[in-house]
């Protein structure tokens, strides 16, 4: 027993002593702070895969190879701050990619302390580039207010939806209420009701029952992206809701979710995905990205991957344009670059930090023959930023000094 105890103690000590401190070489280090454990890991997987694909596509930056330093945020804001600090202080990264809303919001108040550009591709909260904007934090995905505009345009442009009886079922988030509000805001719309469930709800029976009683023929579902959304759609079908109503996903479905749903996905419409692989029919950069991604990962590039890839490409282009890795120079370059990314030509709004990114509306349908191993995917109709982002940075509440 004693020997065992000592052995374990020594092993613990050795582990502690093995401090990281890998010294910097010629490579250019870029930090990736994302979800690498816990229930949301598939999102982090997609983000990382997208960044890796873009890195491979772009090649060396300023003549140096890019080294991605990955840290797990544990989906915990306090940990995110610690890991971001580690990336900057210990690994000396030139920028941080890969964050989602939770990490972005956590890093905003300490962005000045970190002093490197942070480019997020997976954060929905509008405040990040509006009233809480920081000169260091850029966003390539559309924010929730832009998504609201797209949702409204989907409804008004589609007679079946305009004349439907609408119902909202979602988790109890401010975002869900925003979505419900944008539906209600459409003129001459029949709104039958709404219901919001506790954040950890996985059992939607009573809520679905409410929608059916109200005679809903269109249900918008601001449910947490991931397992909960998957369960919701499955249960909606089980309860026969999908026979009576079309389901509308406010920001679309990730492609792994579409794959799991299979045929059921054809009951769903996207009111504004942040990216869609089938945009390759119109955008060569998307096609190039899809091919490299499929080569590396054996599956189709989903929304988060495409967006993460776009963010990485913006960053690499900016560093090249700036000619150095000096943070201030890179920030200035980011403000000015215009890049062809997998979501189309992208640039950040003048005087702001939000990219003028399109949203992709459309129903899910079968893909025959399968492409990139995907049998179902979204049909793509791009809703440009000129229509969704109608305020200037200042008007939206962002005042950068």
């Amino acid at each position: 027993m004693r020997a065992l105890r000592f052995a374990i103690l020594i092993m613990t000590g050795v582990t502690l002593a093995l401090a990281a401190g890998v010294e910097a070489q010629e490579s250019l280090k870029v930090g990736v702070l994302t979800i690498r454990s816990g229930p949301a890991t598939p999102v982090g997987d997609d983000i990382l895969a997208g960044i890796q694909t873009a890195t491979k596509m772009y090649g060396p930056v300023l003549g140096r190879s890019v080294e991605l330093v990955v840290e797990d945020s544990l989906w915990n804001p306090q940990q995110a701050v610690t890991k971001a600090t580690k990336l900057v202080q210990q690994n000396r990264v030139v920028a941080i990619l890969g964050t989602s809303t939770i990490e972005s919001l956590a890093l905003l108040p300490v962005a000045d302390r970190l002093g490197v550009p942070i480019v997020t591709s997976n954060s929905g909260s509008a405040a990040i580039t509006r009233d809480r904007c920081s000169k260091w934090v850029f966003r390539t995905n559309p924010d929730e207010l832009m998504s609201a505009a797209a949702l409204q345009s989907l409804i008004t442009g589609n007679p079946r939806l305009q004349n439907a009886k609408w119902f909202t079922i979602g988790h109890d988030y401010p975002w869900s209420r925003l979505v419900a509000g944008s539906v209600k805001g459409v003129k001459n719309l029949k709104y039958a009701g709404e219901t919001f469930a506790p954040l950890d709800t996985s059992d939607w029976a009573p809520f679905i029952a409410q929608a059916r009683t109200a005679g809903a023929t269109a249900v918008v579902m601001p449910v947490t992206l991931g397992t909960p959304l998957l369960q919701f759609i499955q249960q909606a079908r089980e309860f026969g809701l999908t026979n009576d109503a079309v389901l509308v996903a406010p920001i679309g479905l990730p492609d792994w979710l579409v794959d799991k749903l299979g045929d059921t996905s054809t009951r769903v419409m996207s009111a504004g995905s942040w990216a869609a692989w089938r945009y390759e029919d119109q955008e060569p950069a998307t096609k190039q990205f899809n091919e490299v991604f499929y080569q590396l990962n054996g599956r189709v590039a989903g929304m988060q991957s495409l967006q993460a890839g776009a963010a990485a490409l913006m960053l690499y282009n900016a560093i090249t344009k700036a000619g150095s890795t000096d943070p201030e120079a890179v920030v200035k370059a980011l403000e000015a670059v215009e890049v062809r990314t997998p979501v189309g030509p992208l640039k950040f709004q003048a005087g702001g930090r939000q990219a003028e990114a399109p949203l992709f509306l459309g129903p899910y349908e079968s893909v025959a023959p399968p492409r990139y191993a995907a049998r179902f995917a979204q049909r793509v109709e791009a809703f440009p930023a000129s229509k969704s982002l109608t305020v200037t940075a200042k008007e939206s509440g962002c005042n950068l000094k």
């Binding site: 454990s37 701050v81 939770i102």
Partner: protein
């Protein structure tokens, strides 16, 4: 002059000198860290560890000295982050003022929570303390107008002391270290006082303590309130360090973390939890960077420590010391 008095005047052995000096030396070493060329991130991590150490010390008072195991000790710490964060952002970032306000809030809630929790003991106490923390978590998520819900409270400015802002880095580190040393000394005094000895009696046997006429419930209640208050000091520092807070700080997994630190370090000692907090922070950082098996590793170490090293690091250190 009696011979006994002469016999008292002998020279101290070197062991005894080391024993007396150990504590001030450790404290001095800790305080010196940012000024001796330590790598920036190591100092940052150590700073975080010092804050956690205050938190672990407060739990040790409850678990190690009073015998009440809490599964919800994120409550006092997390509540303080919100109270301090809100006050610092809305009213004044003066550190002492913020600390006073957050302590006030924490003590007020602890009085109520402690009243309920000390109705039971043992396992039921553990579960109820978990439940109390869950309620606070739900309030943090639901009371959006004040806490901003899951998005968290952000925009907490740097603390100010005597009119000067305390930047992150050596200044804030020193503040944290000073508060840790103060908390340690305060708890050491408390544990040695009659109150502390009463707690020890309660820990060893509630029945016997009651039989001797001790008001067991009152003492347990006081222990809960004091431990929340000390945790609150840590929480106040934490919200400044992270420039904000979120409901995740009240999540039950955080309660599990502080419990792990305290047990790992050694219950019933005071240096133990400090060592445990440092070990935990550095271990977690190492493991989460290099593997995705943090959850498994955490559980494994937890189980091993509980079964094989119930006295934690302090126990092992103590045994090594007495063998030398």
């Amino acid at each position: 002059m009696a011979p006994a008095a002469v016999a008292e005047r002998r020279t101290l052995s070197s062991r005894e000198i080391w024993g007396q000096l150990a504590l001030p030396l450790v404290a001095a070493a800790l305080l010196a860290v940012p000024f001796i060329g330590t790598p920036a991130f190591t100092a940052t991590l150590l700073n975080e560890a010092l804050i956690y150490a205050i938190w672990a010390l407060s739990l040790d008072l409850l678990v190690g000295f009073t015998g009440l195991v809490s599964f919800g000790h994120a409550a006092g710490f997390g509540l303080a982050t919100y109270a301090a964060g809100y006050f610092a952002r809305e009213v004044s970032a003066d550190f002492l003022l913020t600390l006073a306000v957050s302590e006030g809030v924490v003590v007020a809630v602890a009085l109520v929570a402690g009243f309920i929790a000390t109705r039971v003991s043992g396992v039921a106490f553990a579960i109820i303390s978990l439940a109390v923390c869950q309620v606070l978590f739900q309030i943090a998520v639901g009371w959006r107008s004040v806490t901003q819900g899951m998005d968290g409270l952000v925009g907490v400015p740097l603390p100010r002391l005597f009119g000067r802002a305390i930047a992150m880095g050596p200044a804030f580190y020193t503040l944290s270290a000073v508060l840790l040393v103060t908390s340690y000394l305060a708890l050491r005094w408390l544990v040695g006082s009659p109150f502390g000895r009463t707690l020890a009696a309660i820990r060893s046997s509630e029945l016997r303590a009651a039989a001797v006429g001790i008001d067991v419930r009152l003492h347990k209640w006081a222990a809960v309130v004091i431990s929340w208050a000390v945790a609150g000091v840590g929480g106040t520092l934490f919200v400044f360090m992270k420039a904000g807070t979120t409901p995740m700080v009240l999540h039950w997994s955080e309660s599990g973390n502080v419990l792990a630190m305290t047990i790992f370090g050694g219950l019933g000692t005071l240096l133990g939890p400090v060592a445990g907090a440092v070990a935990f922070v550095f271990l977690r950082d190492e493991l989460t960077t290099h593997t995705q098996a943090w959850q498994f590793g955490f559980g494994l170490v937890f189980v091993l420590v509980v079964i094989l090293f119930p006295n934690g690091l302090a126990g092992v250190a103590g045994r090594l010391w007495s063998r030398s």
